[in-house]
């Protein structure tokens, strides 16, 4: 398929998927029958509601809110955590990954692998637990454990979690590809020519590791977005995912239009952060080119 057609088809195809995807809780209900009729009528209601603006209003608890008024702040909050997590996480992960790929110290490597295999919510709960423990022992509150109100948000701990989980993934990936690349013949050739260790690592090995990072970017982003849902929920941050999935079931039942709007917003966020990441990797490729 020519690229132009592919690009024009992208938006309708994705939207179709989102419409069908958001139908699940309507179609599958506790009485074990498929409610296709209700599913399609909610799609019809959505389109009917675009005209009179009803599709862009939702219930939070018992108050009706406008989607457009709420989305800005929530989107901004989520973007703040995701973009910082992505950029700083990539940088830290790459630095440590190079170090781990080169170094022979096994103990630390094993520890990092072990923490990487634990699901993200375990990491979050353990961090919260440690802070409570330290506070109980020493009366010293290192960070807020979670946001209690909107005006007094917990920032440090969510930011740390937003960074370490992508960083950990990046680190393991870079270390693995670094190890593979360093076993190639051109590395021993470069060594035989008398080039310095750090020069070989940064200008012979790293440029050949970066394409793998680029190819792996979608998986990296997938992990980050999964993590986003978990930590916004556990830290009680009023971001995009909290706004959508906390209110998905309001007093009057499932809010189809909110979920559709929310997922579309999430995908927009995905595109923005993906572009940011590509830019970062592009810059790195320019810096470490020979």
């Amino acid at each position: 398929m020519p690229r132009a057609i592919q690009l024009t088809l992208i938006v309708p195809a994705i939207l179709l998927f989102v419409f069908l995807f958001a139908m699940f809780p309507v179609v599958l209900q506790a009485d074990r029958r498929l409610h296709w009729g209700e599913g399609f009528s909610s799609v019809r209601d959505y389109f009917a509601g675009i005209g009179n603006g009803h599709s862009f209003r939702y219930l939070a608890g018992k108050t009706e809110l406008s989607f457009w008024e709420q989305i800005g702040a929530n989107f901004g909050t989520t973007f703040f955590y995701v973009s910082i997590g992505a950029v700083i996480g990539t940088l830290i992960g790459m630095m440590l990954g190079i170090y781990f790929g080169v170094s022979r110290r096994q103990g630390l490597k094993r520890f990092v692998e072990l923490t990487g295999v634990l699901p993200d919510f375990v990491v979050v709960i353990v961090l919260q637990f440690l802070i409570v423990y330290v506070y109980a022992r020493t009366d010293w509150l290192v960070f807020e454990v979670a946001s209690l109100t909107r005006d007094d948000p917990a920032i440090a701990l969510p930011l740390i979690s937003a960074i370490i989980i992508p960083a950990n993934y990046m680190l393991r990936n870079v270390a693995m590809h670094m190890g593979h690349t360093l076993s190639e013949d051109y590395i021993s050739y470069a060594k035989a020519r008398g080039l310095g260790k750090s020069y070989i690592v940064f200008f012979h090995a790293l440029p050949n590791v970066l394409p793998y990072m680029r190819a792996d970017l979608h998986k990296f982003m997938g992990i980050m977005f999964g993590n986003l849902f978990i930590f916004e929920y556990l830290y009680n941050i009023s971001g995009l995912t909290m706004m959508v999935f906390n209110n998905a079931f309001a007093h009057e039942g499932y809010q189809y239009s909110l979920v559709v709007n929310g997922i579309v917003a999430l995908l927009v966020l995905y595109v923005i952060v993906y572009a940011l990441q590509r830019l970062l990797l592009f810059g790195m490729e320019k810096v470490f080119a020979r």
Binding site: A30, R32, V117, I187, P211, G226, F229, L267
Partner: protein, 306 residues
């Protein structure tokens, strides 16, 4: 047999044994509830939750049920389901992947082009499972075992594509090897080549993939539990003046974590006990995977030149 593999296997086998025979050794049954009672010699009233001690080795929950009994009861879901979902994923995904890998066309190395479907990475897997299960899982009329197997089917289907792709990529690499070419020249049928030549040379990868999938499934259980979808169903108590309370019907471990996830201020053992069990189980699997990789590396790998 290396030490890592041995440790991992020991942890896993012990856990499986505990699942099968633990309820005969546990001091309290899962239906046995600790009542509020008065101890005359200490002149105190004892009310649940009881802290871990001599009578309740792992303490009780807020309702007075023994944590050890709950853990042993839920273990069959956690352990058997994670292993069987991973098995189905690897079996079905592996067969599809082998077929695709043998017949599929060779693609250039993926350069991370932005295609239509890559955008959907923005929707995490557990949210897909959540959307499917949320209508069915709250206060269900069916039995926990039925609902757990429904979830298992959903999680197995969701995971098959990624397994198939991984196996396909590996199979494509093996397909280019000399021995496959010579088998073809000798007139072997495609099925025989896949079964006798391609599959055996990537058997180790499949075993490692199986263990990793089991860990991923456990992660999904946990993430769903954080959002109140417990394996075997959720009981939701709605109170007009309080936030809703969610309880696991099956005592599955991630469900126990999910329903106690705010317990890090008081009665911490109610959260810590299932969390430690869950983490220990994941670590056991992880050690098996690392141990197998080590074994495998010793046989085939090249070493860093620097």
């Amino acid at each position: 047999m290396n030490k890592t593999l041995l440790t991992g296997l020991t942890i896993t086998v012990l856990m499986i044994l505990a699942t099968l025979f633990g309820r005969y050794l546990s001091p309290h049954g899962v239906d046995e509830q600790m009542k509020i009672h008065y101890v005359a010699e200490e002149n105190t009233v004892v009310a649940p939750p009881a802290a871990p001690g001599s009578e309740y080795p792992l303490g009780t929950d807020k309702q007075g049920f023994d944590m050890l009994a709950k853990m042993l009861d839920g273990a069959k879901y956690t352990i058997l389901l994670s292993v069987s979902i991973a098995f189905v994923r690897v079996l079905v995904g592996g067969i599809i992947g082998l077929i695709l890998g043998y017949y599929g066309k060779k693609k250039g190395r993926s350069t991370g082009q932005f295609s239509v479907w890559s955008l959907l990475n923005g929707i995490p897997v557990f949210i897909i499972a959540w959307m499917i299960m949320v209508g069915i899982s709250m206060n269900p009329s069916v039995s926990p075992a039925y609902l757990a197997s429904l979830l298992a089917v959903v999680l197995a289907i969701i995971g098959i594509p990624s397994v198939a792709v991984t196996i396909q990529e590996k199979a494509m690499v093996v397909r280019e090897k000399q021995f496959v070419l010579s088998a073809k020249a000798l007139g072997a049928s495609p099925w025989a080549i896949v079964r006798r030549h391609i599959y055996p040379s990537m058997k180790e990868n499949v075993v490692i993939l199986f263990v990793q999938e089991a860990v991923l499934v456990l992660g999904l259980f946990g993430q769903l539990a954080i959002f109140n979808i417990f394996v075997g169903g959720t009981i939701r108590y709605l109170d007009p003046f309080l936030p809703p309370i969610y309880m696991s019907r099956s005592n599955e471990w991630s469900g126990l974590i999910g329903q106690a996830r705010n317990m890090f201020y008081v009665y911490q053992w109610i959260l810590l006990v299932p969390l430690i069990g869950y983490v220990l189980y994941i670590v056991g699997f992880h050690l098996i995977s690392v141990g197998l990789e080590k074994q495998y590396k010793k046989k085939y790998a090249k070493f860093a030149q620097i």
